[in-house]
Subunit: 292 residues, 2 copies
Amino acid sequence: MRWPEGFIAVDWGTTNRRAYRLDGQGRCVDEFEDARGVLSVPAGAFPAAVAEIRARLGDGPMLLAGMIGSNRGWIEVPYVACPAGLDELAQGLAWADDRTGIIPGVRDDQRADVMRGEEVQVLGAASAGTIPADGRVCHPGTHNKWVDIAGGRIVSFRTVMTGELFSLLKDHSILSDLLGSPVAPGDAFDAGVRHGLACDDLQANLFSVRARVLLGQARREDAASYTSGLLIGGDVRIGLPSTLAARVFVLGRPELTRLYAAALTVAGHDPVELDGEQCFLAGIQHIAERIA
Amino acid sequence: MRWPEGFIAVDWGTTNRRAYRLDGQGRCVDEFEDARGVLSVPAGAFPAAVAEIRARLGDGPMLLAGMIGSNRGWIEVPYVACPAGLDELAQGLAWADDRTGIIPGVRDDQRADVMRGEEVQVLGAASAGTIPADGRVCHPGTHNKWVDIAGGRIVSFRTVMTGELFSLLKDHSILSDLLGSPVAPGDAFDAGVRHGLACDDLQANLFSVRARVLLGQARREDAASYTSGLLIGGDVRIGLPSTLAARVFVLGRPELTRLYAAALTVAGHDPVELDGEQCFLAGIQHIAERIA
């Protein structure tokens, strides 16, 4: 271990960041989350934004993961190609200075896809043994990732824009006034999931959300849950052909894994939810050990 | 003819309005278009917005069509149920005062779908004989409509949110910086159409637009045309099973009918473009004759 006194780990996304202080045994002893995602940091202001983390968590070494390493972040770190495990992530790490490293994302050239941040969680879960070393994992977020791992390495993956599409529809579309209600599993959500699993007409079915309310065929307060179910059902249809194994691991933020688990249950799978935060801490600790 | 001296016809949509002065023979003798769509008019301000049209085009009787008759417009006019022809539209007309009538929209209860404004254009084209009295018509716009007519009446229709989805992605999504280029038919557009026709993974393929550019597999300047083709190709797949007749009539704004005609050609159809404005004028003139 390069840093026997521990280090600071940061999961720095587009719209928020989470920072953790880990001690020499990998235990989280302090943390915070705020809304300073990379899009909120002006060009040139990243050194100050990093110093702010040290001011809050202590002046230690630091590993950063996520969009902080993208062309919209601090330093653009080239993607590591699939198959990619923790070794490849550690080898591809870029040093901003001698104690501040940025973890690369992963590219899938065959599928034409990219990720930054999810790889630490997925590989962390695999190396900790909380998911099998071989199989397909679901990682919901703004952009849901279906990740195939083999031998504990990411071999292929596919991104579905489910979360962002829901946000666009909720914030800016003709459906805005219908999508403000809270989304929750239940009959309306399940009905949306079933349609999304069976049908390939998302663009048409979205409009009918509004039409059904106008025509008195659906309740206004069900529209948000139905639409979320519709999008997640379509996501599952794209990402998980029903011939695959019944048990599916879903890792990420609990409020999202809960919805995906409900949809996977409707689809006849047996979902297992994992807290993405714990997976992240496991993964970044394993990377820190490899750069000793 | 109730109005031998002619009348003013208004196609009043969500984001803009077009107003025409027709003489006693149905000829357009004056017109204007502006951005005063229903969403830009505060509640209570519609009488003034209507008076403004008379101030510009003359103080005559008036027929209004489109979202002006919706719950976001001036007076909510109940939808007419399918099958709906010009007779049903004339019978369902609501009078704001004794010389100002608002034309109803059409509802398809079986499909759970609604339209306001397109019905005048489609039925106008059918009554003028520029499209057959039986068949499926494409009406692109913010929300594309595939309309089945039989015996000159609308019997069924389906809405696809293609135009709005493209706008949301262009204005607010992670693809924003890629979608600013002009959209035009060509190789990139056709490639998008072919994918949209063949595949049911829109939510995933949208993200790959960005990934392909990041990975050097696609040119940044092609992204807008490819994405437009992807959406329109999916729209055609949903709206027009390939077993239907080769000839397809597309009516609407020329900049949109051009793109749909290109996509329909890729799909093996034989599209015929019609100017939606002329169809609207034919339709509203026929309605005016029926309320004599």
